[in-house]
Every structure is written in C-alpha cells, then in structure tokens.
C-alpha cells in the first residue's frame, strides 16, 4: 500500500522516535505532496576519477578506494558541472529514517531525466534505514549539465510492509551516513565463497 500525504504527515509527527518517519531538514512544506516526499540534492559529492593503480576490483576494495575518488563540497547557491558519461555520487540534503514497517522507493524527477540526468540506481530504501541517501548521478546526454545543490532532484514513495520485523538499522552497511558513501561491495560475505570457488592453478 502506497502511503498518502495525510499518512506521511502523521508518521512524521509520531511521538515515538523509532516509529517516526524522519525527513530533515524539510525546507518547504510543499515537499510533502500527494503520495511522495521530494528530496533535494545535498552539498557533498564523490567524484570518480581515473587511477593509475589499476582497475576497480570489487573483491578487494577495502583499501585503496581513495585512488578512485575525490570528495568535493558545493554549497547551496553554487553549482557543479556534470559532463557527458560522468558518474558522481551525490547525497540527499535530507537525513532520513524509514520506520521498520515502511520501505521507500527513490524515483528521479522526470524533469531532470529529460535533460539526461539519471539520479539513482539503488532505488529501494529498506525498512529501518537511517541516514542520508547516496545518489548515483550520471549524465547520459551529450551535453554537460549543471547540478545545483538544494534543488529537488528525486522523490520518495513510501510503502507499508506487512509483517515486517527485520530492520536495516544496526546490521546494514549504509546505516547512518550524512554524506555520500563509496561502494561497499567488498563487504559482501559472498566474496569469501566466490574466492574459494576460484579454479586452482594447474
């Protein structure tokens, strides 16, 4: 069931912090509208850069990730350029808590999409998530485009989760950040199994 405006507002006022839907700072009350909450582009970015250290190996990414990234801060009122085929990691301006009985989908605004901007690939926000949302921003068009922190860049659509009991908070890889986070793919437990399954050298 998709939550409507009245339900969203009610959950945002919930007196019990664990049950509260948190989206802060909410610069404009109009961000909560219809069946979604608009989120804005934050001020911190991770720019992917070319590295002489070799390709990214998702199996061995716990060290050396700084070779591939550069952090940048662009204040509201300033702008940064996103070149064609460039990927940057951005973050929502808002810090979000999704209560344990809800989940959310991140949907890029079509107005940006029509300029070639892809806003997010990890579109599901799990029950119990707490933190700002890292946004994968890619320019799929042939023309550079400016990004302006503070602009509404995506919307969150919340769903009720029936019988939900597992929580993201505490055990998740991405809980609690207030800025963009680089991939933590190498934290997956599956890698140990995959490493053991590699064929032995003859």
């Amino acid at each position: 069931m998709v939550m409507g405006e009245a339900q969203l507002r009610e959950r945002m006022q919930h007196p019990v912090i664990q049950e509260r839907l948190v989206v802060t700072p909410l610069l404009s009350d109009a961000q909560v509208k219809g069946a979604s909450i608009d989120v804005r582009l934050g001020t911190d970015f991770i720019l992917m850069k070319r590295s002489a250290a070799g390709p990214i190996d998702p199996m061995a990414m716990r060290t050396g990730v700084l070779d591939y990234q550069e952090r940048a801060r662009v204040e509201v009122g300033e702008k940064m350029i996103l070149h064609p085929n460039q990927l940057v990691l951005g973050v929502t301006l808002e810090f979000i808590q999704v209560p344990r009985d809800l989940m959310a989908y991140v949907i890029g605004r079509s107005s940006w999409g029509r300029l070639g901007l892809m806003v997010a690939t990890a579109v599901m926000v799990s029950p119990g998530y707490r933190g700002s949302l890292t946004l994968e921003l890619a320019n799929l068009a042939d023309t550079p485009v400016y990004l302006y922190p503070g602009t509404r860049v995506a919307q969150l659509v919340f769903h009720q989760v029936d019988g939900a009991s597992s929580a993201y908070a505490g055990a998740g890889k991405y809980t609690g950040p207030v800025g963009p986070e680089f991939s933590k793919l190498s934290w997956d437990e599956d890698w140990q199994a995959i490493q053991r399954m590699q064929p032995e050298e003859m």
């Binding site: 006022q13 664990q18 802060t24 301006l93 808590q97 207030v178």
Partner: protein
C-alpha cells in the same frame, strides 16, 4: 644583498599566496614576518566543513574570520581580517568548534554577549570541549556562575574552570536567557538521527542541540557530532531559504 635563504622564503611566500584570494593576500601584509609565514602555511590547509558551518553561524563583527586547522588554538587580528586556528583533531565537532567564538571574544564583554546571543550557555561547555585555555572562558564562567550557579554544569566542566578563581578577570554583565531544554535532542542524538523538530523541521534551538551533544556518551560522540553538524547546517539552510523566499527581516544579518 639578500641571501639565498631570504630569496627562498620570499619565493615560497609568493607561491603560496598566489593561490589565495586577494582578501588573504592583503590581510597577511599586516602580520610580522615570522607570524606571516606561520599563517600562510596554515591557510594552505582547508578547514573542516564543521568549522566552516560553525563560523557561518557564530560570526560577528565587520571583518571576516579566516579559519584554518592547526595543532592548537591561535588568533591574530589585523584591520581587515581575523586569523584563527583550531586543533585539527577536534575539527569535526561543532561544540568544540564553537570555541572559535570564544577565541574571538576572549574576555571582552560586548563580544561575549554576541556569542551568548547565538549559542546561549553552550558557550561555557565549548571551552571544555575545545580543550581551550581556561583564561579564554574565565570571565564568561564567572558570569555564568553568578547567574545560574555552579551546579547547573557537570563535574568535568566544574573541574576545568576550578582554576579560574586564580585568574584576574572582570565579571561581565551578560544577558543569558533561559537555560535550554535539550532532552529531546539528546534522545535523538543517542538514538542516531539528526536532531529535528516535529514534522522534520530543523531544530529551532541550536544552543540546546550543542548542549545535548556534550552529554552524549563517548562511544557515540563521533557519530553524534556529525548528526549535530547536520542539524546546524539544516538550521542555517532553513533560515537562508526562508529569507530567500520572504526577503530579509529588519535588522537581520545577511552576510558573513
């Protein structure tokens, strides 16, 4: 004739300053040779986002504050700017960075009042959190005790200021306002969310957020510092957003 050392120092200074804005290039001219080199070297390092955010919140006076990370607190005032350094390891904590306000104010009553107007009693805790010289907050402490009594603080702060009795400073007349109710923000910080008001609004009382941060247990302090900084950023953004939508209020400061 200049020695090669003198030429080398001048060349280094010129190269360092080329990358700096004209404001800094002009301001360092007021410093003596030795101090100038120290500040030029410091200004090559970017200040933390938290320190910059706190400066935006507490800045007072007509001259800009040029804030850099260092190994200890330091200040140099020239006619066109105030150079300030803070201990780099503390740079991500907003309560410690509030020490920049105390550093600027020293024991001057009118400046102390400016700081208290913005952060209330949190200024007292900032002196301890920022590991500052007890002299810096001495007169503010005496005024606080005269107004609220010593027991409104906790043991670490009382211990920190215990030696103030030996410091010869006046007791300024400070309009303190009410002691903030920080419990709700404390609960939010300990739980692990950015302090906020009902409906997701940014906290209306930054003094309460900063005071709440002091009482957060050490194991979660680093995380809570980031959350409190985010709340401060949200407060500033909300204020700026409201101003942009409705226009500045009468008497409101619109530039830092």
């Amino acid at each position: 004739m200049e020695t090669w050392h003198e030429i080398a120092w001048k060349t280094w200074e010129k190269e360092q300053l080329e990358a700096q804005p004209s404001l800094i290039q002009e301001a360092v001219k007021f410093l003596d040779e030795e101090r100038r080199a120290v500040w030029i070297e410091r200004l090559g390092r970017p200040s933390s986002a938290c320190a910059r955010t706190m400066v935006r919140y507490i800045h007072s006076g007509a001259t800009p504050w040029l804030v850099t990370p260092g190994l200890s607190w330091d200040i140099a005032e020239v006619p066109s700017a105030v150079f300030m350094a803070y201990p780099a390891p503390l740079g991500n904590d907003p309560l410690a960075m509030l020490g920049l306000g105390l550093l600027w104010a020293q024991n001057r009553p009118e400046r102390l009042q400016d700081v208290v107007d913005k952060v209330g009693v949190a200024a007292i805790w900032a002196a301890w959190e920022g590991q500052m010289s007890v002299r810096v907050g001495a007169s503010l402490w005496r005024s606080f005790v005269a107004h609220f009594g010593e027991n409104r603080t906790d043991a670490p702060v009382q211990k920190f200021f215990a030696s103030v009795t030996h410091v010869d400073v006046p007791v300024p007349q400070i309009a303190w306002g009410d002691f903030p109710n920080y419990q709700a923000y404390y609960d939010q910080l300990c739980y692990g969310v950015v302090p906020h008001d009902p409906g997701g609004a940014s906290p209306h009382d930054i003094a309460a957020v900063l005071l709440a941060l002091h009482f957060v247990p050490t194991p979660v302090r680093s995380m809570a510092s980031h959350l409190a900084t985010k709340a401060l950023e949200g407060h500033l953004l909300t204020r700026a957003w409201h101003r942009a939508v409705t226009g500045p209020q009468e008497g409101e400061q619109t530039q830092w």
